[in-house]
């Protein structure tokens, strides 16, 4: 069954879109990432104009992170204070990122920078996580106790001045590295056109040692705020949000996110990290293969200065 999308100006299969967004929503709810880096390329592959795909996916990510964040909130697995700190830092980074985005685009190498940074980020974060989590799994298998996090145990760089207590995350850390890190994620997110959840989640896990379930809720909360703002921004600045496509994506996305969140709660911390690492590596390989293998069609067309 097909429906015509008024802003994208093309028809699309209803069931296909709902199915795809449910799958991406599942992953989003499970890992606390937005899933935009999965959904946007899928939509572009189906022929949706890139500007419409990016803008409309931000509405879907807002919806699925809302549903995830509310579920986590009801379970007290959301650190609002930490989330607000991350959002504040992220805003500054996003603004700097938008400036950088425009200057890279003027240099004419935007696609290359995006593809290469995706590749490097996914490969580094993915392989580091895979390595660490597999070791943790092995340790659990052989029965040796893993390193347990004790209260009051923090790496030195979290002991900089301006320390803030985040009770729920069992974190007592300086605001400087937290805000700085959030700004970096916001910067990368703005340049790559993504929410940056897949950088935020590993960072909260490893650098700030926040408990896994608290990471998911807090990351979703931060994504919810940024993506709601992004939806407004895209709609006002380039009129590229397709509300019909958004409804389809949201319906699939929120249902998927509910089931994903449920599945995630039954996962052990190590398995969670192995799965997320595999996902990041798979996407990294996919992007890398596009850069490395001879393309079937070396030419590409882009519409300049037209609407959409």
């Amino acid at each position: 069954m097909q429906i015509y999308l008024p802003i994208a100006e093309m028809p699309i299969s209803i069931l296909l879109i709902i199915g795809m967004s449910a799958a991406v929503g599942f992953i989003s709810g499970m890992f606390g990432i937005g899933g935009g880096f999965l959904m946007t390329p899928l939509l572009i592959f189906l022929g949706v104009p890139p500007a419409v795909a990016v803008a409309t996916v931000s509405a879907q990510v807002a919806a699925s992170s809302m549903t995830g964040a509310v579920s986590n909130w009801q379970r007290r697995q959301l650190d609002v204070k930490l989330g607000l700190f991350l959002t504040a830092g992220g805003l500054v980074g996003t603004m700097l990122g938008v400036l950088a985005f425009n200057s890279i685009r003027r240099a004419g190498q935007l696609e290359v920078v995006i593809a290469l940074s995706y590749l490097v980020l996914f490969m580094i974060i993915g392989s580091m996580m895979l390595f660490e989590s597999l070791r943790a799994l092995m340790r659990a298998r052989t029965g040796k106790p893993g390193r347990l996090k004790r209260a009051g145990q923090h790496p030195a760089w979290l002991k900089l001045p301006l320390r803030v207590r985040f009770g729920r995350s069992r974190l007592y850390a300086s605001a400087i590295p937290i805000l700085g890190f959030a700004a970096m994620v916001g910067f990368i997110g703005a340049v790559l056109g993504i929410g940056g959840g897949f950088i935020m989640v590993p960072a909260l896990l490893y650098l700030f040692r926040v408990p896994t379930l608290m990471v998911v809720g807090t990351s979703l909360f931060q994504i919810l705020i940024t993506m709601t703002a992004a939806t407004l921004f895209h709609a006002a600045s380039n009129q590229s949000v397709d509300i019909v496509l958004a409804v389809l994506l949201i319906i699939g996305g929120v249902i998927g996110a509910q089931f994903g969140g449920r599945a995630g709660r039954h996962l052990r911390g190590e398995s969670f990290r192995v799965l997320l690492a595999i996902l990041l590596l798979a996407v990294g390989f996919r992007i890398g293969s596009e850069l490395i293998f001879r393309p079937e069609e070396p030419f590409s067309i882009s519409i300049q200065g037209a609407r959409g």
């Binding site: 097909q2 429906i3 015509y4 008024p6 802003i7 100006e9 093309m10 028809p11 022929g47 509405a59 879907q60 807002a62 919806a63 699925s64 992170s65 809302m66 549903t67 509310v70 579920s71 009801q74 696609e111 290359v112 919810l224 709601t228 939806t231 407004l232 921004f233 895209h234 709609a235 006002a236 009129q239 949000v241 509300i243 019909v244 958004a246 409804v247 949201i250 319906i251 929120v254 249902i255 996110a257 509910q258 449920r262 596009e290 850069l291 490395i292 293998f293 001879r294 393309p295 069609e297 070396p298 030419f299 590409s300 067309i301 882009s302 519409i303 300049q304 200065g305 037209a306």
Partner: protein
Amino acid sequence: MMRGAALALLWLLVLTATARPEALVVSLSAHRVLIGSNYTGAQIAVFGSVERDGRSVARADPYDVVVTAQGPRQHLLVREKDRFGPLWLNNEQRRFGEAPSFLATYTTRLFREMGSEEDARRLNLGLRNKLIPAGAGLSFDTGEARFADALIRIKGAGKLYQEVERGVTFLTPSMFQAPIILPATAPTGNYDVTVEVYSGQVLLAKQQTSFEVVQIGFEQQVARLARSWSLTYGLATALMALGFGWLATVIFRRD
């Protein structure tokens, strides 16, 4: 007196009509294509008739009819990837400042049956010659042609560019018909249809008409809201997203 004047006028009309031995009459099956929520593309039939003045001598060559449909213009950039060390990166690029978003030509015969390649170039026949008009340069710059071919290939895969040789059929010796097939991705706007009749590479007659692709009803309202009330539209979308997200937690709250 009045009667005489009317007769004279009639004669004048007949005379101007017969100044060229062939007269061409063209009609479209529709002048508006309406896009609703179940739109999946459309087909428009072009009907035409070549009226020949009985007194002129019969043509040795058959009539060749060329029907061309062109959609709204776009500013396109075609990029080519090249190898840089281990990576494939965009290298050369060409701009097509006034490329039609939709371009289709339908002919009675194969282009090579109608004349040589130079003839086709001179008469601007075929997609490639339409994209790089003869005025742009005497010969094909090889680079230019490579990019034009890529554009035709990529747009052709989505049926936005079509070249249908034998797409025009003669129903009677003077009446012909051609279907213009619009894919659903063809954008809204005005489409020009040109019909040319050749005989032995000589243009005998040419007619132009047009049709329009428009959104109606709900689709039209949405597109209009998105453009003229963009902030309200964005707010509505964001609220809907948050509302649906919250609703899902209520529906699924059982564990």
